[in-house]
Structure formats: C-alpha cells, structure tokens
C-alpha cells in the first residue's frame, strides 16, 4: 500500500511534466518524479523495527547476529544517495537552460516559445 501511494506521486509528477506548458512547472514535475523514485527505492529496503546500517562500538559486543537481523538494506540507500546528487545536477542544468531561454524569449510558456520561433 505505501508503494501504491508512491506510485501515485510518480504519476502526479508525470502528469505535470507532460501536460503543463510552463517551463518551471515541467521542471517541478520532473523533480516530483525523482522524489517518488527515491522514496520507492528506500522503501524497498525498510524492515519493521529496523535500525540504520551504521555500526556502533557496542554493536560488535552485543552481537553481530542481532545487527544482521534488524538492519535495513544499505544498498538502496547507496543508490538513492547517487540518484539525489544526479537529480540535483540535472536540476541545475535545467534551470540554467530555463533562465537563458527566458532571457531570449521573455516567457516561460513553451507554446508561446514555439509560436515566437514561427
């Protein structure tokens, strides 16, 4: 069920990116989609009553087996860390294209831009 809500978020983002005509709105839609995917990946690794995959000094003493049986999955966390940075990079590039386009055309509306281009 949490997955379904996550998928709903993904679809809201997709709707925004596909339907909206404003460049900033399109960027917002893509950002929402990225959040949805990141949440989905982290959710895949969660387990009820889990602990973070970070060892303390007393973890070794109190027993590795305990840690192994309760820790959440570290691999999706590593993936999402990468994905967040990638999305930040593409956000920066997208916004710079938006600003430059605004400077050229004076509008964020893509239908308007297409009309101006002729």
């Amino acid at each position: 069920m949490p997955y379904a809500l996550c998928f709903l978020l993904f679809m809201i983002g997709l709707y925004c990116a596909v339907v909206k005509k404003n460049m900033v709105k399109i960027v917002i839609g893509i950002t929402v989609m990225e959040y949805a995917v990141n949440l989905f990946l982290i959710m895949l690794g969660y387990r009820f009553g889990g602990v973070a995959p970070i060892m303390e000094k007393d973890t070794l003493e109190s027993g590795m087996q305990q840690f192994l049986n309760t820790s959440v999955d570290p691999l999706p966390q590593a993936l999402v860390l990468t994905a967040i940075v990638i999305s930040l990079g593409s956000l920066a590039l997208m916004i710079s294209i938006c600003i430059r386009t605004y400077e050229k055309y004076g509008t964020f509306d893509i239908t308007e831009i297409r009309r101006l281009k002729g």
């Binding site: 973070a52 970070i54 000094k57 860390l81 916004i95 710079s96 600003i99 430059r100 400077e103």
Partner: protein, 149 residues
C-alpha cells in the same frame, strides 16, 4: 547589491565559521557517522551562499574568486579519479582500497581510502555547487563581467 544590515553581516560572519566547521566534521567523520562527502560538501557551499546573501556578491569575489573556485572544482574531481588510479598502481585494480588495513576500527583514521575519497568529494561538491549558485545569481544582473571567458 551592497548586502544587508550590520547585524546580519556580523552574525553571518560568525555563523559562517560554525557552518564550515560543521561541514568539515560531516566530511571527516563520514565513514563513522551519517553524512559524508556529499552532505558535507553541500554544507560548505551553503556557508558561502550565506556570506553571499549577507554581504553581496563583490565581497565573496574577494574571499573566494570564481577562478579559484572552478580550479578547486576540477582539482577535487581529479583527486577522486587519482584515488581510483592509485588503487590501480598499488593494488593492481581500479579503485582498490589499498589502505584498508591501516588504523583502528571506529577511530578517525580507519577505512583506508574512504575518508580520503570523502575529502576529495567534499571539496569538489562544495566548490561546484557554490559555483553554480554564483553564476546563476550573477547571470545578466551585474555588468562587472565576473563571468569567465
């Protein structure tokens, strides 16, 4: 833009140091506690963004010139690639953690190349994110020609 009032400037100059210290802590202890090169690098970048908001862009230019910033960006990325290549030189495989046996578990000096990679990434991320925010905010708004090339 001349910046904000004296109160804001004074507080910002003190808080900047705290933020930088916090960023360095996050970077250095990335292999022991939550955080790491990326989070710490972004925190470092945000300290200079704070100074830029408080004092205006010209002041930051004196403190951290754009050319130095982009050099740091390139050098950080190159240092990370060099760590990978050093793994090839010393261990025979790309990205081999050739220092992993040094140090003591749960101490600052442990985990071989991981803290080194964290430092390189922190440098790179901090420099590059400050650079992008700086050029985004200066674009077509100042006429002093601070943009390169």
């Amino acid at each position: 833009m001349k910046g904000m009032t004296v109160i804001v400037k004074t507080i910002a100059s003190w808080v900047k140091i705290l933020i930088i210290l916090f960023g360095i802590y996050i970077i250095l202890f990335g292999h022991l506690t939550p955080g790491g090169g990326f989070a710490g690098g972004v925190i470092l970048a945000s300290s200079y963004v704070l100074v830029m908001l408080a004092y205006g862009r010209e002041f930051v230019q004196k403190d951290l010139p754009l050319s130095l910033d982009s050099k740091l960006d390139c050098l950080g990325a190159f240092a990370f690639a060099m760590i990978a290549i050093l793994g090839f030189v010393f261990g025979g495989t790309f990205f081999y953690n050739f220092l992993s046996k040094y140090g003591q578990q749960f101490k600052l000096i442990s985990a071989g190349t991981i803290p080194l990679s964290n430092i390189a990434i922190g440098l790179k991320v901090g420099a590059s994110l400050f650079l992008v925010i700086f050029i985004l905010s200066t674009f077509r708004r100042d006429t002093s020609g601070s943009e390169k090339e």
